[in-house]
C-alpha cells in the first residue's frame, strides 16, 4: 500500500509533559483517515509537527516518502494543505482577498482559479463581506479553500466540524467527500464527533496518551462493530457445524463463545444444537458503535 504520511516513533515533549510518545501511524494514499482521540491525547500536536509548525523531540515522519529531516520536505509541503485548530484566515479581508493573499504566498501567477475555489466551498456569493462577519461554518469553509489554494493532494483538517450547526456539519462532510472522491485528495481528519467521522473515514487511527493504540480500515472497524449475537455454548465445534448447515456468518471467540452475524431464531438454534449434543448457555445481542469501540479501546474514563 502506498502511504502519503508515515510517522515513526514521533515524540514531542513540552518540559516534562509528553504530548506525543513514540507515535507511529500510516495514512494511505487516497484515504480519509479519521484520527480519533480524547482531549489532550496528542492529535493537534501531531498535526502541528507534520505541518512544520513545531519540531519533534524525537522520531521522524515521511511525507510522500521523503524523510522529515531532508531539505526537500519544504518543497513537498507545497502538496499539502491544512486547517489547524481554527481556520487560518485574515478576518479583515474578504473571502476573495484571503485567497488572493494565499495565491501570492504560493506564487500562483494568476487569480483565475479563485472563483472556482469559492464555488467549490460555497462562498461564491460573499462579495465584499469581511471574513470577520462570516458564520463559523463559512469561516471553516474559507479555511479549507485557503488550504486548497495550492491544489494539494493531502489535506489535513483538525476538528473541522467543531462548533458547527447540523447544516454546517453536513456541508463540511459533503465537501470533504467531494474532495476525496472527485479530486482524489487524501484527507487526515481529526474529530471529536465520532458519529460524524464514521460517515466519512475510510481508515482510522486511535490515539491515546500520545500513542497510536489501533489503526484499522473502515471495513475492519465495521466488522469489529457489526451487530451480532454473542452466544455461549458447551461445544463450539458443534456450534460451528450447526451454523455452517444454517449458512450463518460467525466468528468463534474461544472454546465457549462465538459471535453470530445474523438475526437468529433462538429456539431453532437451541434445538439444532441439542441435536448435536451441545447446550446453549446464553445469548446476548451486541451492537458496538464507533464510540463504544473507542471507549473499549482506550478506557472509559473520559470520552473523545
Amino acid at each position: 500500500m502506498e502511504y502519503v504520511l508515515v510517522t515513526q516513533g514521533l515524540s514531542k515533549h513540552y518540559k516534562d509533559f509528553k504530548a506525543l510518545d513514540g507515535l507511529t501511524m500510516h495514512v494511505p494514499k487516497g484515504s480519509i483517515y479519521g484520527f480519533v482521540g480524547r482531549n489532550g491525547a496528542g492529535k493537534t500536536t501531531l498535526i502541528r509537527l507534520i505541518c512544520g509548525l513545531q519540531a519533534p523531540t524525537a522520531g521522524a515522519y515521511t511525507l510522500y516518502g521523503a524523510d522529515s529531516n531532508q531539505k526537500d520536505i519544504a518543497n513537498l509541503r507545497r502538496r499539502m494543505g491544512a486547517v489547524v485548530e481554527t481556520p487560518s484566515i485574515y478576518l479583515d479581508l474578504t473571502a476573495e482577498d484571503n485567497l488572493k493573499e494565499q495565491f501570492r504566498v504560493l506564487g500562483v501567477p494568476s487569480d483565475d482559479g479563485i472563483p472556482d475555489l469559492l464555488k467549490l466551498v460555497g462562498l461564491e456569493d460573499t462579495g465584499k463581506k469581511k471574513a470577520r462577519n462570516f458564520s463559523l461554518g463559512m469561516k471553516q469553509r474559507l479555511g479549507i479553500a485557503v488550504a486548497l489554494a495550492g491544489d494539494p493532494d493531502f489535506l489535513v483538517l483538525d476538528e473541522p466540524v467543531n462548533g458547527l450547526d447540523p447544516q454546517g456539519i453536513i456541508e463540511i462532510r459533503e465537501l470533504i467527500l467531494k474532495l476525496n472522491r472527485e479530486r482524489r485528495i487524501t484527507v487526515l481528519i481529526s474529530s471529536h464527533i465520532l458519529d460524524e467521522l464514521s460517515k466519512l473515514a475510510t481508515h482510522y487511527g486511535f490515539i491515546d496518551s500520545g500513542r497510536i493504540v489501533k489503526e484499522l480500515s473502515a471495513r475492519e472497524l465495521e466488522a469489529a462493530c457489526r451487530k451480532c449475537l454473542r452466544v455461549e455454548v458447551t461445544d463450539t465445534r458443534a456450534l460451528a457445524r450447526v451454523l455452517d448447515q444454517m449458512g450463518v456468518d460467525y466468528k468463534i471467540l474461544d472454546d465457549g463463545q462465538a459471535d453470530l452475524y445474523a438475526q437468529m431464531n433462538i429456539s431453532q438454534l437451541s434445538r439444532a444444537l441439542d441435536g448435536e449434543g451441545c447446550e446453549l448457555l446464553s445469548a446476548q445481542e451486541r451492537d458496538e458503535s464507533l464510540e463504544s469501540y473507542f471507549v473499549n479501546l482506550v478506557g472509559g474514563d473520559s470520552h473523545a
Binding site: G52, Q54, A74, G81, V84, I89, E101, R104, V105, L106
Partner: protein, 279 residues
Amino acid sequence: MRNLLSANLLRLRTSMLFWGCLILMLLLGAGFTLQRYWEQIAYAEFGQLSYLDEVLFRHGLLIGIVTALFVPMFFGIEYSDGAIRNKMVVGHSRLSIYFANLITAAASSLAFCAAYILAVLALGVPLLNGVRLTAAQCALLMLGTLVLSAAFSALYTFVAMLCARKAASAVVCILGVFLLLFAGIYISARLSAPEFLTEYSIADDGQVVEEEPEPNPQYPRGLEREVYQFLYDFLPGCQSIQYGDMSAENPALLAAYSLIILTVSTGAGAALFRRKDLK
C-alpha cells in the same frame, strides 16, 4: 521569499492601519511645517526666520512611535488570525518568513518617513526659508534617520515575531519606544548640564557678589560621561532625540550604530524564531 513579500505588499495595500499611519505622518509633517510658518509670521517684528531644515528631519523623532504602533499590529494579525500557519504549511522556511516581514516592516517605515518628508517639502518650500545645512550634511542626516527607522523596524519585528500575542507585543513596542525616548531626554539633560555652577550672594552693602564657580555634581565626568555619550549615540530613542532637536553632530556614527542594532536584533530574532514552537 519573493512570494512572501508579494503577499505582504498585497496586504499592505488593503491595510487601514498602514494607510492610517501614512496619513498620520503626512499630517504631522504638514502640522510641524505650518507651526514654524505661523511662528515666523507671529514673531516677524523680531526678525525671526524659520528654516526648512528645522522640521525636515523631525521624522527621526516620530518614526519610532509610529512604527511601534504599526509593526506589532500588522504582523500580530498573522498570529491572532493564524495566517502565519498558511505560510509554513506550504513549505516556506522560517527564515524567509522572518526576513520577508522585516523587509516589509522596514519598507513601511521608510514609506512613513517619505510621507512626512513629502508633506514638509510640499508646504515648507513655498512657506519657509531654505536650508542652512550643506547638501552633504542634509544627505547624511537623511541617511541617518532612514537607517534609524530600519533599526526601529528590526527591533519591533523581533518582538512581533517572537511574541504570539498581538496585544502584548504592541504594549512592549509602545512602552519600549517611550522608555527609549525618556532615556534620551534624561541623557541629553545630563550631557548638557553645565560643568560648573556659579553661585551668587548678596553682600552686606546689598551688592550681588559672584562666588567662585564650583563643579556641578550633576555633570558627568570621565568614564561616566563617555558611557552617557555612547548610550546617547547608540540607543535608538536617544538618536531620535538628536534628530528631533537637530543636535546630531555625527550622523554617520549614529547610522553605524543603527546598523549594528539592525544586524544584531535580526540575527537574534531569526535564530530564536527558527526554534519557536508555533501553534
